[in-house]
Amino acid sequence: MSLLSVEDLRLSFGGLAAIDGLSFSVDEAEIVSVIGPNGAGKTSAFNCVTGFYRPTSGRITLRDKNLLGLRPSAVAGLGVARTFQNLRLFGELSVLDNVRAGSHLWLRQSVLDALLHTPRYRRSERECTEQAHHWLDFVGLRGDRYGAARNLPYGEQRRTEIARALARRPDLLLLDEPAAGLNHGEKEEMLDLIRRIQGLGVAIVLIEHDMGLVMEVSERVVVLNFGKEIADGRPEDVRENPAVIEAYLGSDAHA
């Protein structure tokens, strides 16, 4: 049984078919990349899986549990975490608070605990903070953890967003262009980070434009073009697929 299974997913906005029959599956602790030209429907597919968009038709299941029609928070509750293409950190809040958001569903703490500052409140707050530090260490954040997240440099904000998603302790992590806007050295570190996340037993679906990174890290690559799936296979096979070369890689692929 695969972890995530997407079958014949269709999504249209009015008359425009953003996704037109997408099927793919992700196994436990597997890294699958979704690639395709801009506007191919990659992020829309993410939004369907995470509950932000309601697909027109299709099936999405996580360990045979239906995800369709659930609110995003319920999908998150089942063990799916994501990052956003354009960073969506809680800018005014501290870096730590951002990562604490990941622990939200794990914290056992009632309103009464909070009002009376019971030992349970103190313990859960302490654990939550420790967890946040742990995940910030894991992603290798160097910046100030106590300051506002918007003050971090761009690359550090990317890491913070991933730490926040990891603190959710997901089984499946959806990364939407994690390497966008990173310099060469930071991309190397991102590659390493993605492998270490896989090492935790977390499956990753990756949307990425950096082909070097995609070919290096993915076990499988799904290619979308105009909402249609045109290839699904091992990186080296996809690279040689004529349809993919024509649609996406263009003449540069052999340059």
Partner: protein, 320 residues
């Protein structure tokens, strides 16, 4: 270090000495001490009535701060809950001869229900739309009170028993209740729920993606705000022993919102100061007769120009 330079939200300067002093954890205790010692300075009925009103305004501001400051929901009809609390306790106390204290549990239940009734349909809306609908609900409550027989119509309810007869004692009761309310609101703000409120304020989609049921969390903020407002209403009914629709106009909602913005949205010490300023400044300026509200307005504009983030803004920097 800059002292009076214009600061915009989003800029970050090292904290000034004054703001570091304000971050002192003893600030709350100091504020409480000032409130407790004030009657020893001036205990005329006029002063006591102004101070009690100021304390009630603090409670309202603390409640609205949960909704607007923590959760980022612009509520222009907050006075609705103040009215619901005041009228519920007033009607119960006068019609059923209940002591005012006995109405408190019922007031809590009724304000929770009012919060759900007003919040459930409106909280699906965002920003401007929410503001307009809450404005409408604020007016609906006032106009309903104006037209119902049970609420006494335009003349309202009078002869509401006091919580305690003695004015000085009532002031102290109010200060204690309000202090607990402020402390409670601040503690909620530092809890799991309070963080969820801020996540919603900062980015609703990202909060949802992290597993925060944003609708439920917003409703919780609204209900908490409603209960705080309703309990402030009980104190108000007890203080004046008479209430009428004229006490619950849009101007009241605007003044409470002004206290929150002036003090610093999301900052409990800030909104306490904001509420005290908003309720005391018109009294201090009383000597200016007709010009006092003009000067009041000008002073507020000056403050917002010099400190747009509020008198005592919420910090995004955490103490390690």
């Amino acid at each position: 270090m800059s002292t009076t330079k214009v600061r915009r939200l989003g800029t970050d300067k090292p904290p000034t000495r004054a703001s570091r002093l304000m971050r002192n954890k003893w600030a709350g205790t100091a504020g409480l001490l000032i409130a407790l010692l004030a009657p020893f300075v001036d205990a005329t009925p006029y002063a006591l009535s102004i101070m009690t009103s100021a304390a009630i305004a603090v409670m309202l501001a603390a409640g609205l701060n949960i909704v607007v400051g923590y959760c980022g929901l612009l509520d222009l009809g907050y006075v609705a809950f103040f009215a619901v609390g005041a009228y519920t306790s007033g009607v119960l106390a006068t019609r059923f001869d209940l002591p005012l204290l006995a109405t408190v549990p019922i007031v809590i239940v009724v304000t929770v229900i009012a919060g759900i009734i007003i919040g459930a349909p409106t909280l699906r809306l965002r920003s401007d739309y929410l503001a307009i609908v809450t404005l409408g609900f604020g007016e609906i409550i006032r106009i309903t009170a104006n037209n119902l027989d049970v609420t006494g119509g335009p003349s309202g309810i009078y002869g509401i028993p006091h919580l305690v007869e003695n004015k000085v004692l009532f002031y102290y009761v109010t200060v204690v209740v309000v202090s607990l309310a402020v402390l409670g609101a601040a503690r909620l703000g530092r809890s799991r729920l309070g963080r969820a409120w801020r996540f919603v304020r900062e980015d609703e989609d990202a909060a949802e993606a992290m597993g925060v049921h944003t609708y439920r969390v917003k409703l919780a903020a609204y209900i908490a705000g409603a209960v705080w407002g309703g309990l402030a209403g009980v104190l108000f009914a007890s203080q004046l022993s008479a209430i009428s629709p004229g006490s619950f106009t849009f101007l009241q909602s605007a003044l409470v919102l002004m206290a929150v913005v002036l003090g610093g949205m999301g900052s409990m010490p800030g909104v306490v100061i904001g509420a005290v300023v908003i309720s005391l400044l018109p009294e201090v300026l009383r000597g200016l007769a007709d010009y006092r509200f003009l000067l009041f307005g000008i002073l507020l504009i000056i403050v917002m120009l010099l400190r747009p983030q509020g008198l005592w803004p919420a910090r995004s920097k955490e103490v390690s």
